[in-house]
């Protein structure tokens, strides 16, 4: 009796584990964005990972900022921010939250900068002018990003009218009691933001896998490619992304190994 019960119970987690992982690899797991100023916790509470922490703390703080499934421009600073004069006025259009319901998660759109200018029916010339303007603007925007973010966070805390404004920091499927985000969600977001790759470099549907081993301080101890795509532009861009992720901006709850599947499913516009 005991044995049977034990076996059955044993089976449960194992069963739950295996399909859970393969499922994760097939569908993409958390599609919501993560606000990288949120603390990495072991048992995140139910909430939203893109929300900003509430309490005034040394770093960037603001009222919760809903950030739905639709991928806007990544929010936080690059690892080595440019030492620039902060221009604290304009709220950049990109990190503007677009409230949406959390569960039926639409495919994240690629950044609009180079893709569908087609949508608008303005004249070519206008498009062109805008393109050059955008380019200049994005340059400036990058430099201002950090400063702007701080200002924006502050400003938005008073502005946001969205119904989920009050969403606490946590994970959508969070079952714990800590205000923060899971390490997996955090690392996914962080590495993605380090990854630069243009759709004009892509050919075919490249896929690669790498294992990254981080210690509890968030330092990359070693990594290896499990599978390369064979597209050297793609593989090299991943090497760069990993090199830029040598140090996470926050410690992890424990040393962790991540098995990361890189692909372009959400970028390539190829029905």
């Amino acid at each position: 009796m005991l044995l049977v019960s034990l076996l059955l119970h044993l089976l449960l987690p194992i069963l739950s584990y295996i399909p859970f992982f393969s499922q994760q690899a097939l569908e993409k797991p958390p599609v919501y964005r993560v606000n990288l100023v949120n603390k990495i916790v072991k048992n995140p509470q139910a909430g939203r990972p893109e929300a900003a922490p509430v309490k005034k703390k040394p770093v960037v703080k603001s009222k919760p900022k809903p950030k739905p499934a639709v991928k806007p421009k990544p929010i936080p600073p690059k690892p080595k921010p440019v030492p620039v004069k902060p221009k604290p006025k304009p709220i950049p259009p990109k990190p503007k939250p677009e409230p949406a319901k959390p569960k039926p998660i639409p495919k994240p759109e690629p950044k609009p900068a180079v893709s569908k200018v087609q949508e608008n029916t303005l004249q070519q010339r206008l498009q062109q002018m805008r393109a050059t303007q955008e380019r200049k603007a994005s340059e400036q925007a990058r430099k201002d990003r950090i400063a702007t973010l701080k200002a924006a966070a502050l400003a938005e805390s008073s502005k946001i009218k969205s119904p989920i404004t009050a969403a606490p920091v946590g994970m959508v499927d969070g079952k714990g009691d800590e205000a923060g985000v899971s390490a997996i969600a955090f690392v996914q977001e962080f590495i993605q933001q380090q990854w630069n790759f243009s759709k004009y470099q892509a050919s075919g549907n490249p896929e690669a896998e790498a294992k990254l081993f981080y210690n509890a301080e968030g330092t990359l101890l070693h990594y290896k490619f499990i599978k390369k795509s064979g597209n050297s532009a793609f593989d090299e861009s991943l090497t760069r992304a990993i090199a830029k992720s040598k140090q996470l901006p926050q410690p992890l709850p424990e040393s962790m190994e991540f098995h990361i599947f890189f692909n372009l499913k959400d970028m390539l516009d190829r029905p």
């Binding site: 087609q118 303005l122 380019r135 430099k143 004009y200």
Partner: protein
């Protein structure tokens, strides 16, 4: 009850064990940034030749134009460059990559030039800032007037290094211009620089196309009264009539292997698509229909030809298999689809569609699905042709009422810009193969 407690404990332990034994799985299905931050430093004088700022400026301008057109890059603002930009050091070990990383650059172009005894030497390097690797290095030696050529050639090389496929910037564009009052054949660089008139027929010249294997163009001219097909060697200027059947000899297009020419003849009182040998003899007739059949364009494999026909009422794009001569219809939308151009890398066919009296460029997959409109708004955009690498399209555009000009854009419709000057009524562009 006791069992339950015990089993719960064991399960928890196993659960923890599992979580450490398994790596956390993450899928990243798109890059966070879809451009490569690139720092392009100014060429610095090297060696004994002294400083020639004009060379550095022209080089910078030409290279930047190509790189921006590629759409790959987010150029790091030169105003933010730090001390390393002013140092000639071209070796990996001489570069302070940390500076570039601070600026957010992932790639870096450095170079030097010297002019000695009328010879221009330009040495160039493309580095990966993050991994501190040399991605490509080139040294070019040429005439002082070769600055633009060197810049275009290096731009091709940069794209090769970052995408695996060379850029098309050092190729040529042929087109028809009415600058002299007559439609004549011209040749220019991909950025529109230095148009050169190739014919002096004082008649009507139309539809140029480049031979894939020789430095040679074919085109149609009314020089002798009838629209005949001509062949012209680009460097010797030697010219001959290739097809002078009565009626139309128009829209000549070299097959991908350069051995045959598809064109429209109307010798039998109706326009049909034929294949000619390069000596002008008719190899075979591909279409046989009382309707209008014009505008052949070869598939990359050379086994099929897209063309325009009004056999179902309005002009639409059809595809004929050159062996079986079986004809299938490609476009169904719109009332007027014309001038197909098959991407030389395969996949899609570009064409222009007239809607409400305005032509715009569209593309469609070879199998007739996934039609997309690439251009919008006023201005007739016609005669799309692909770059040899399939990344860009050129076309004519009469936007603004100054007559037609040649424009260029990326294959997805972004980055459109005019490359030929206003006032020439420039049309019928054709992109050369790599020289």
């Amino acid at each position: 009850m006791k069992y339950f407690k015990a089993s719960f404990f064991i399960i928890m332990t196993l659960y923890l064990l599992c979580s450490t034994a398994f790596a956390a799985r993450i899928e990243i299905s798109a890059p966070g940034e879809q451009t490569i931050p690139l720092a392009l430093t100014r060429l610095l004088p090297m060696g004994v030749g002294g400083a020639h700022p004009a060379v550095a400026t022209e080089f910078q301008q030409v290279l930047l134009g190509d790189l921006e057109l590629s759409g790959l890059f987010d150029m790091t603002n030169p105003a933010s460059f730090l001390s390393d930009a002013g140092k000639l050091g071209l070796r990996r070990t001489e570069i302070d990559f940390y500076q570039w990383r601070m600026l957010g650059s992932e790639a870096l172009i450095k170079g030097g030039y010297s002019i000695t005894a009328g010879k221009l030497t330009i040495e160039l390097r493309l580095f990966d800032v993050i991994t501190q690797r040399l991605l490509t290095g080139r040294r070019y030696v040429g005439k002082v007037t070769d600055v633009r050529k060197i810049a275009h050639t290096f731009a091709d090389q940069i794209l090769k290094s970052l995408t695996g496929e060379k850029g098309p910037f050092s190729t040529k564009i042929a087109y028809i211009s009415k600058r002299t009052g007559h439609k004549e054949l011209y040749l220019m660089d991909v950025d529109g620089y230095k148009p050169i008139r190739m014919t002096n027929h004082r008649s009507i010249v139309l539809n140029p196309d480049f031979s894939p294997t020789r430095k040679e163009l074919i085109f149609t001219s009314y020089k002798k009264g009838n629209p005949d097909l001509y062949r012209k060697e680009i460097y010797t200027g030697q010219e001959s009539r290739l097809s002078l059947k009565s009626g139309l000899n128009i829209g000549g297009r070299y097959s991908p292997d350069g051995r045959e020419i598809a064109l429209t003849l109307s010798k039998d009182k109706n326009s049909e698509i034929y294949l000619l040998g390069t000596d002008g003899t008719i190899h075979r007739r591909l279409t046989n229909h009382y309707s209008i059949d014009v505008d052949p364009s070869w598939s990359p494999k050379g086994n099929k030809i897209a063309f325009v026909s009004d056999r179902r009422g309005n002009p639409n794009i059809f595809i004929v298999d050159i062996h079986s001569r079986e004809v299938t219809r490609l476009t169904f939308e719109g009332k007027y689809n014309a001038t197909p151009a098959w991407n030389p890398k395969g996949g899609r066919i570009a064409y222009s569609r007239m809607d409400d009296g305005i032509f715009n460029i569209f593309t469609i997959r070879e199998n007739g699905t996934d039609e997309r409109q690439l251009t919008f708004g006023s201005g007739n955009k016609e005669h799309p042709r692909w770059s040899p690498d399939g990344r860009f399209l050129i076309y004519s555009n009469d936007l603004g009422g100054n007559g037609k000009s040649i424009w260029i854009m990326r294959a997805d419709g972004t980055g459109a810009k005019r490359i030929s000057a206003h006032g020439g009524n420039d049309s019928h562009p054709a992109w050369s193969h790599r020289w």
